[in-house]
Structures are given as structure tokens and as C-alpha cells.
């Protein structure tokens, strides 16, 4: 496998791509020119479908299928939303995209919006990303002057408005239906699905929501074609992925690698292994919501559709043997307790009680009743909550019980 292929980060260190001139000098906005020249949205929808691109927001849903659903809708009014809410702990890959190459994101947003026939697109950005909001505002302004969006894009009949919507500090608003509620001026609680946003999304209209990293692959696919894209990475999971390495690793940071790379390669080759004097204990894949992976499982491939763990946000935390596991439990459970939106009882109560138990574990006051309660709470979170947040909240704790034996 060619580990050096770069789709998203290729020119990050070469020039200041925030300047539209530099972005254009490396082929930027060529994909949009190509799209406008052809005026054949079906063709490009097919390219994206053929690429088998899977959503990078965590769930790995085929982008082409979602796109088709919105493009083929009978409703005239449609929306596109770029999900830049990124608030999974340990994850800052979407922010890195904005910091390094905002126009690639904007170009993707424009193309996807035009393909689905949306006249209005929103960028929903994490409320703590003030600096990135500014970068995007400037980049949008430059792109607007070049007629890349607005009325009569590149003198064609296409029109598109793009607006930035800044979140207000709620993790759950990264979930697409909660995100939509939040734009509509309501509490950011998830909605019942179906109907899916592709049917009834923003203001009840068909809406395509894509993660910022997913969108950053689009210009490449338009230029080189879906078939070429599908050759990169692993068979069922094509393309590259941004991973965020953190914890006790020598070289933390954002890395782009083809999907299918093993966890071991990522930590020990790319990340340089563990920091001096530290010994590997386990890795957590996908932020606070992620599963724990032990030494003997390190040869597992990082790709979508894996039965044993989900790559989630792409954050990988390397934990060494000196780490206080009770601090980590408190970190995880505290996060889920704070961020539970409160809509459903099993999650609201379950995350609270798990956090209380984590505190008692920390203080060495864990009782037999607590140990039994942990089992019930985890089961309830995994099986009865309204949205996937409940499963997220249980994942690492369950592994800590089963693999790290914290209750023994």
C-alpha cells in the first residue's frame, strides 16, 4: 500500500493556501470550473457514487447514496450543511482543514450543493472555533469576488448562497438532526428518524449533511474520477483518512493515511512510537466515544465497517502504563454526563450514575452494589437510548471493565 498518497493535506506545508491565489496555483477551483463547464450534475453524482466515499463524520455512510436521495427528491427547496461542529475530545482534524486549506472545503461545499440543487448552504462550526470562523469568512469573501458562489456562478445559471452558523457549545449538536434543531433556533436535541434529513431536514426540506473532511475529498474526485479514488486505501473503505494522534506518543498531530493502515503502523511508524521511557498499555480509537485496543489487537486495520471497533472521529489516544486509569474514567464519564442532552431518561440518568461511580472508584470507595449497577447501566446505555450517544457513553467504560478489569 502506498502510504504516501495525500488527497487532503498534499499542499498544507507548501504554501499559505488561505490565499485564494495560492490555492488556485495548485489546481484549486479547477474542479468547480470543470463542473460548471459540463453542467451535468448526474455525471458527477455518479463519480462520487463510484468513488464509494464513506462519510468521515463517524458513521461511514456512503456519500453517494445520501447525495442521490436529496438530488432525486421531488421537493424544489433543498439545503446543504457542512458539519464542522467537531467536538469529540482529542479531535481537531476538521479545524486543521480550515487552518490549512479552507478553499478546498469551500470548493467541495459549492460542488455538492450544486449537484443536489441546493441554493443555500450552511457551515455549522463549533462555537469555540472563533479563529477558524474568521478564516472561513475571509476565504468565502475571496471566493465570492471570484464568482465561485453567489449569483450566476462563473457566469452560469447556478446560484448559491453560503452562510456560517456558529454553534454554542453543545457536543450533541454534531449529530445531524440536533444540528438542524439548533439552526432552527431550538434546543439541540436529536429528532426522531425516520424521516431522515435527506427527506425532511432543515426547515422540513431535503438536506444533505456532510462532515468537513468528507467534503474535502470532493474536488479530487471531480478531477480524477471516482474509479481512481476507489483504488486508494482498502477495498471496502476507499480513500485516505485524517487521524489525530495524541497521548503518550512521540509525535502527536494530524496525519493523512490511506484507510486500511493498521493501528500499529500508525502509532509506531508514523507517530514514532511511545515517548521516551513509556510503555504501551492500550489505545483508544475515536475519541471519548471510542473502544480500547490492547497490544495484541494492534494489527487491526483502521477502516470503516470493522466489527470490533469504529474509527469514529479518527482520534487515536495512546495510553501508557503510568497513566491513572481512574483519571481517564472520570474524563470519559464526566464528558458524557455534561454533554447528555437530557432528552431521554436512560442516557440522562445513566451517564450521571456512571460518573458518580467513576468518582467513587477514584476515591477507592467502590461497593459491590456499584459493581452490579455498572453492568445494568452499561446495558441500558447500549440498548435503550434515543440516539447513538448512549452507546458512545458506554463503549470505553465497558472495555475498561472487560479488558482492563477495573472492577476486579
Amino acid at each position: 500500500m502506498n502510504k504516501n498518497i495525500k488527497i487532503i493535506t498534499k499542499y498544507w506545508d507548501v504554501a499559505d493556501l488561505k490565499k485564494i491565489k495560492n490555492y488556485e496555483s495548485f489546481g484549486g477551483y479547477k474542479a468547480l470550473h470543470k463542473f460548471i463547464k459540463d453542467k451535468n450534475s448526474d455525471k458527477f453524482a455518479d463519480e462520487i457514487k463510484n468513488s464509494s466515499l464513506l462519510g468521515r463524520g463517524g458513521a461511514g455512510f456512503p456519500t453517494g447514496d445520501k447525495l442521490e436521495a436529496v438530488a432525486g427528491s421531488g421537493e424544489k427547496e433543498r439545503y446543504f450543511i457542512c458539519n464542522l461542529d467537531e467536538s469529540e475530545p482529542g479531535t481537531y482534524k476538521d479545524r486543521a482543514i480550515v487552518d490549512n486549506d479552507p478553499h478546498k472545503l469551500i470548493e467541495g461545499i459549492i460542488i455538492l450543493s450544486l449537484i443536489i440543487g441546493a441554493r443555500k448552504a450552511f457551515i455549522y462550526i463549533n462555537g469555540n472555533y472563533g479563529k477558524q470562523e474568521e478564516i472561513l469568512e475571509n476565504a468565502l469573501e475571496e471566493a465570492y469576488k471570484k464568482k465561485y458562489w453567489g449569483e450566476k456562478i462563473l457566469k452560469s445559471d447556478y446560484n448559491l448562497e453560503i452562510g456560517i452558523f456558529s454553534g454554542a457549545g453543545a457536543y450533541i449538536c454534531g449529530e445531524e438532526t440536533a444540528l438542524i434543531n439548533s439552526i432552527e433556533g431550538s434546543r439541540g436535541e436529536p429528532k426522531m428518524r425516520p424521516p431522515y434529513p435527506t427527506e425532511k431536514g432543515l426547515f422540513g426540506k431535503p438536506t444533505l449533511v456532510n462532515n468537513a473532511e468528507t467534503i474535502s475529498n470532493i474536488s479530487w474526485i471531480v478531477i480524477y474520477g471516482g474509479e481512481e479514488y476507489a483504488k486508494i486505501g482498502s477495498k471496502n473503505s476507499p480513500g485516505t483518512k485524517l487521524f489525530v494522534l495524541g497521548g503518550a506518543v512521540k509525535k502527536p498531530g494530524v496525519y493523512e493515511l490511506p484507510l486500511g493502515v493498521t493501528i500499529r503502523e500508525l502509532i509506531f511508524e508514523i507517530g514514532g512510537g511511545l515517548a521516551k521511557g513509556k510503555e504501551f498499555w492500550f489505545a483508544q480509537i475515536g475519541g471519548s466515544s471510542g473502544r480500547l485496543i490492547m497490544e495484541k489487537e494492534l494489527d487491526a486495520k483502521l477502516e470503516f465497517g470493522n466489527k470490533d471497533f469504529s474509527i469514529g472521529s479518527g482520534a487515536i489516544l495512546v495510553v501508557d502504563k503510568t497513566t491513572n486509569i481512574y483519571d481517564l474514567l472520570l474524563s470519559w464519564t464526566g464528558f458524557f454526563r455534561r454533554e447528555s442532552c437530557g432528552k431521554c431518561v436512560p442516557c440522562r440518568e445513566g451517564t450521571f450514575r456512571l460518573w458518580e461511580i467513576a468518582k467513587r472508584l477514584q476515591d477507592g470507595e467502590i461497593s459491590e452494589a456499584d459493581k452490579k449497577a455498572v453492568k445494568d447501566i452499561l446495558w441500558t446505555l447500549e440498548n435503550t437510548t434515543f440516539c447513538p450517544f448512549g452507546k458512545f457513553a458506554a463503549a470505553a467504560f465497558r472495555d475498561a471493565v472487560e479488558k482492563l478489569k477495573i472492577l476486579k
Binding site: 467536538s87 482529542g90 479545524r95 462555537g127 452558523f165 453543545a170 433556533g185 495524541g246 489516544l317 454533554e339
Partner: protein
């Protein structure tokens, strides 16, 4: 102060999509949104007062209670936790004789927050919007004293 809330409101179209942005802006401008101001927001957007509160109370970046002069936040994301952020939290708790998350002290509040994406430089501490990185159990005193 009440002169400018009208001004802030006028920056927004009175449509639902502008409700959260307006709430955020008012909260940031005055530190929190008083009941009187919330009524003005509700009137401006032509929604019931309860709806304005319903939305406002959901979001961390919209305050509906007056905040203490000193608001200290410490990140407890896994990266920061591995770098001993809980020791920093305990140190601050002892220093002010408060508990993280409590709202009993009118002058100072300590909040535990989640990752701010600056994981490589943790533990991260934020005091009234100023960000400190690589905070340790021993360096935290010096920082706090600057704010007293």
C-alpha cells in the same frame, strides 16, 4: 447597558434562524441575559418567553444567570487528564475552598470542560476567556494570584 440590547437585536432578522446567534451575542456582550432582556428577545423574535428560555438554557455559550467575576475552566479531556489536569482541578478547589461545578460562591466558579482541541499543550485552563496551557499543580497558584 440596556441601550445596546436593542441595537444588538436590530443586527438580526427576527427569524428563528437568528435566535441562537442573537442569544449568544447578547450573552457575550453583557455576561449573561437577564429576565428583562430575555423578554425583549422574546418580543423581538415574536416567540413566547418560555421558548426563548428553552433554547437559551440548552447552550453552554448562553448564560441565563449572572456569572461570578472569576470563571475558571479546566479541560479534562483524555489528553489533558493524562497530563494530570485532575490534580490541577483539586489544587484550585483547595485554593478557593470550592468544588468544581458548584455555584455557591458569588465571586469564583470552577468548571470542568471538555477538549478544546489543544491537546498537545495540556492541561489547558481558561480564566475569563484567557487560555493557559501546560498548567501544572505548582504553576497554577502563580496564575490564579494574577487574577485576584
Amino acid at each position: 447597558m440596556s441601550k445596546t440590547i436593542e441595537k444588538i437585536l436590530l443586527e438580526f432578522d427576527p427569524e428563528n434562524i437568528s435566535l441562537l446567534p442573537a442569544l449568544k451575542k447578547i450573552s457575550a456582550a453583557f455576561g449573561h441575559i437577564s429576565e428583562k432582556d430575555m423578554q425583549k428577545v422574546a418580543d423581538y423574535f415574536e416567540v413566547p418567553l418560555s421558548k426563548a428560555y428553552e433554547t437559551a438554557s440548552f447552550y453552554d455559550q448562553v448564560q441565563i444567570k449572572k456569572q461570578p467575576n472569576l470563571v475558571i475552566k479546566v479541560c479534562s479531556g483524555a489528553n489533558c487528564a493524562m497530563n494530570n489536569s485532575f490534580a490541577v482541578i483539586r489544587e484550585i478547589e483547595n485554593y478557593f475552598k470550592i468544588k468544581a461545578g458548584d455555584e455557591f460562591n458569588a465571586k469564583v466558579k470552577l468548571e470542568i470542560i471538555s477538549c478544546l482541541g489543544q491537546c498537545g499543550e495540556g492541561p489547558i485552563m481558561v480564566i475569563n476567556n484567557k487560555v493557559y496551557n501546560n498548567v501544572t499543580q505548582s504553576s497554577v497558584h502563580g496564575i490564579l494570584e494574577k487574577w485576584l
